[in-house]
């Protein structure tokens, strides 16, 4: 086995491929996070709604998504879903970056299902009397939410959301199956063109690990800075 070639990772074409893969992975994770958070809040609200039908809808979404592997979601949104669209929309999609679009849709729906459950349990962790006490002290609904409920709920909700973000970061690697040019895809490309598999995979592994460590560190910092206070 030839020795480890650092120069390969420091400059040249392979270096550029791997770095661009890292950027696409980060972009994929970032875009997904932006879309998934509001969707997750919406689903969490459905799950705690007073209407049984809405609650059922939220539950069906969460269970339906979580019990199917991400890979199957990606295959569906890339190979299956575009067929259901009208011809014009399909043309427009195929003209753009359909791989990235499908991956963002699949990852968003998948991640939101997990985040919704974390948000739901965060809201439920705050006793109802906190809300009643806020109202009794003369705060309006919004003021109660902003000054009493949310500051407490955030402390409970943010740490699990950060660990879901870590899962999201790792899940972006699966987008390689539909040909999104993210890090895993680029590493495999470098491997197959240069046969420098150790270098390519070492780069990808350390990049995944580094970002994972940053996210984990962020979680630990938050937990330390804003510990959960029991009412």
């Amino acid at each position: 086995m030839p020795s480890f070639d650092f120069a390969l990772l420091q400059q040249g074409q392979y270096h550029d491929w791997l770095i661009s893969g890292l950027w696409v992975s980060l972009l994929l994770a970032g875009l997904t996070l932006v879309f998934a958070l509001p969707l997750a809040v919406l689903v969490a609200l459905l799950r705690i709604s007073p209407l049984a039908l809405l609650r059922w809808l939220g539950a069906a979404y969460v269970e339906g998504i979580r019990n199917v592997p991400l890979l199957a979601h990606l295959l569906f949104w890339y190979f299956g879903a575009p067929e259901l669209l009208p011809e014009a929309a399909r043309q427009w999609l195929y003209a753009g970056n359909i791989e990235l679009a499908s991956a963002v849709v699949a990852l968003t729906l998948y991640t939101a299902a997990y985040m919704a459950e974390d948000i739901r349990s965060g809201i439920r962790a705050i006793p109802l009397v906190q809300f009643e006490a806020g109202r009794a002290l003369g705060f309006g609904f919004l003021a109660t939410m902003r000054r009493v409920i949310l500051p407490q709920a955030l402390r409970v909700t943010v740490p699990p959301l950060i660990s879901q973000t870590l899962n999201l970061w790792k899940n972006t690697s699966i987008a390689t199956v539909i040909g999104v040019a993210e890090m895993m895809y680029q590493a495999a490309k470098v491997e197959s063109t240069s046969f420098r598999s150790v270098e390519a995979f070492a780069f990808a592994t350390s990049a995944y690990l580094a970002v994972s460590l940053v996210i984990t560190g962020l979680g630990a910092w938050y937990h330390h800075r804003y510990p959960v206070r029991t009412a």
């Binding site: 569906f76 895993m184 995944y208």
Partner: protein, 239 residues
């Protein structure tokens, strides 16, 4: 859709089985089951090492667990796929590669479940076992682990669900599990991708949802049992 199921259901369930290698849903379940069964002893060993009083054991294992949990499963699969043959000298097939990757990956995740289970057993149990004259190993084997593992049962079923979902990555290295078979069917019928992948999703859903309900039921049942086995009430002083 009915016609699609009628034509391909055998292929979907067992692949080319009697005439060729086993595939499809049967292979998915077999792979997940085997991976979990093999990962369990590894997880217990790693979990014990994580709570070991010896730093020389605890630190490398902690590092290993952190590394495996910090990278995607796909990364582990790729390392196994490209390096197992050069390290062992034996050409492993896709099934073996996927199995090894899953065992390593699940082992690291189970280690944390085991560690949490051990930490969940009250400290007094450990202290009383030691003061009764049991060694560290005996205490773990006869007192701590039996209690810790019982509490882990629902987590284990959930881990099985996760493993079933993880086997889908076999698709990427060409293992003929159920997602791969679905993709094959899709290339054969060509214009009905949405239906094929919807059926694939539905199959996973039935399997995984059923198992997670089972885990939930186990948890409820164990919670009820715990309620029944409350410590004996103090005797009422006779008047």
């Amino acid at each position: 859709m009915i016609e699609l199921i009628q034509t391909y259901w055998v292929y979907f369930l067992v692949g080319q089985y009697p005439k060729g290698p086993l595939g499809g849903l049967a292979l998915t379940v077999l792979l997940a089951g085997l991976a979990l069964v093999l990962a369990l002893p590894l997880g217990v060993a790693l979990g014990l090492a994580r709570v070991s009083p010896y730093r020389i054991i605890r630190w490398p294992v902690t590092a290993l667990v952190f590394v495996v949990r910090g990278v995607p499963l796909l990364m582990v699969v790729f390392w196994a796929y490209f390096f197992l043959p050069s390290v062992t000298g034996v050409k492993t097939d896709q099934f073996g590669t996927m199995l090894i990757a899953l065992v390593v990956f699940d082992g690291a995740y189970l280690a944390e479940i085991v560690r949490a289970g051990i930490r969940g057993v009250p400290k007094g149990q450990f202290e009383s076992a030691r003061s009764l004259g049991l060694s560290y190993a005996q205490t773990m084997r006869r007192v701590i682990l039996p209690q810790a593992l019982r509490h882990m049962l629902p987590s284990l079923v959930n881990q099985f669900v996760a493993t079933i979902k993880e086997t889908s990555l076999g698709y990427i290295i060409g293992l003929t599990e159920v997602s791969f078979i679905a993709a094959q069917i899709n290339t054969q019928v060509f214009t009905r991708g949405a239906e094929v992948y919807l059926l694939l999703g539905l199959t996973y859903f039935v399997l995984c949802f059923g198992l997670s309900r089972f885990a939930f039921w186990l948890e409820q049942r164990m919670a009820r049992r715990r309620d029944v086995q409350l410590p004996p009430q103090p005797l009422k002083a006779s008047a």
